[in-house]
Point group: C2
Chain length 253, copies 2
């Protein structure tokens, strides 16, 4: 199973929007997809139409503490399946503070699931235990980023984190790529940041870019992915292009 | 000294942009302003032109551990002064994990500083120790939010956190207000979210709104606030209006 960790410690760059719609796009290509909501804010769970705070059954949190089997926590549906997030995840770091090998728990949870071609993990905007678990479990990392100045500042730190993860906890971790999000080609700032990205990190950015498109911000309010909510929108076209590129593109070491 | 904590656990909503430009706007009104960068990503420090990873001197982190006096760590300048952030802040929570009263440390640091009319604290996108310290130290909370669906989902959790902070660690904490950011009046989604906000939380939103304006995203690349970088921009007008409203508006309990 290919496992993509969608990561960026910078907030609001489109991690959740990407996990949701890339997952849906890959499912539309016929792949069997599992989405994993590793964020205590549980926005992916909400965006998929599951009322996260009201979420009564077990989820990712319970599987990480071995309180239930992974397949008991998975929510199935016509599109991607979901291992839901919950507020309880915020307490994971202190619950497992004294537990050796805690960063391996998500890898073990996913190893206990079969029948999927790809898993996509949505991470919180920090480099805490949940993100470390995702990097330990993943075969590759995908980093959405906005084409703005502060995003470049974060990128250097993010790439350091990936290198550290590779050397310490997961030698097989590859860089799937950097995805420009909320892109506005009319802005000079966007074009400059994109050019600087290609100059410093050649070949790392996906050819596909996700343009700013309000339909992507509206869809979560209806609990739908972009292909269901607005199939003719630019957001749907962009995420379809990303899904095709991600499915075909081999992760680079 | 009035102390505003700029908070929202949702990422990328404009906390740093608001702390920077509201601080600059208040300084332009003649107030003596101290900015506090309580985010390990240190984006406020970077946006103010201090090369954060290269930051050699002591900063907020050292003052919180009593390793230096607060006034030794403050960077002075023509506009707001700055208590800089640094990557070391990421380790604060585990450094102080066994320390009683750790949430009071920022309050004590700020109590050790005189000569300011107002302090503005930039918080990270989570509700961990640094945010708790800010809520303990603050006289009021200011919550920037985008007029989008997932932002409303976060708001309920944020207001719960403020209520909990008031009852447990800071009975004097008032709600300065909710600030709509990256606002686009042409979008129906923006108008709907804004209307729902006024309906559920009457009087809590500032009249001033910060519209989407690329100058606000460009300014950090030059280490400048919006009034210096683009004094005739909409971003400058919006933050000037916010500064006037915030200076005049009494915090509501
Ligand atoms: N391409 C886009 N066009 C328009 N709106 C977008 C786009 N991508 C994301 N958004 C909206 O921007 C906001 C932030 O996106 P999202 O929540 O996916 O980011 P995130 O990185 O997961 O945030 P966090 O760091 O808080 O987890 C959301 O309201 C989302 O609906
Ligand atoms: N009104 C605006 N118009 C245009 N760009 C903006 C505006 N407000 C913020 N930005 C840009 O959006 C991005 C996110 O803003 P910012 O970093 O201030 O949010 P934040 O809440 O501090 O993020 P984090 O949760 O990561 O700390 C930045 O690149 C910033 O320059
Ligand atoms: Mg998210
Ligand atoms: Mg910030």
């Amino acid at each position: 199973m290919r496992i993509l960790a969608v990561i960026n410690q910078k907030g609001g760059v489109g991690k959740t929007t990407t996990a949701h719609n890339l997952g849906a796009g890959l499912a539309r290509q016929g792949l069997r997809v599992l989405l994993v909501d590793a964020d205590p804010q549980a926005h992916l769970t909400t965006a998929m139409g599951h009322n996260a705070p009201a979420q009564k059954g077990p989820g990712l949190y319970e599987t990480l503490l071995d309180e239930c089997a992974p397949d008991e926590a998975v929510l199935v549906g016509p599109g991607p399946h979901l291992l839901p997030g919950s507020l309880a995840l915020a307490g994971l770091e202190s619950r497992l503070a004294a537990t050796p090998g805690r960063e391996e728990r998500l890898r073990r949870t996913l190893a206990g699931l079969s029948g999927y071609d790809v898993a996509v993990i949505d991470c919180p905007p920090n480099l805490g235990l949940l993100t470390v678990c995702a990097l330990c479990a993943a075969t590759e990392a995908l980093a959405p980023m906005q084409a703005e100045f502060l995003a470049l500042a974060s990128l250097a730190a993010l790439l350091d984190t990936l290198r550290a993860a590779r050397s310490r906890i997961n030698p097989d971790l590859a860089m799937a790529g950097i995805l420009l999000t909320r892109f506005d080609a009319r802005r000079r700032l966007g074009r400059e940041v994109s050019a600087r990205l290609d100059e410093h990190f050649p070949g790392l950015a996906y050819a596909a870019r996700i343009h700013e498109n309000v339909a992507l911000a509206e869809a979560p309010g209806f609990g739908q992915d972009i292909f269901t909510y607005a199939p003719n929108s630019r957001g749907a076209a962009d995420y379809a292009a990303l899904a095709a590129e991600a499915a075909a593109r081999p992760p680079r070491p």
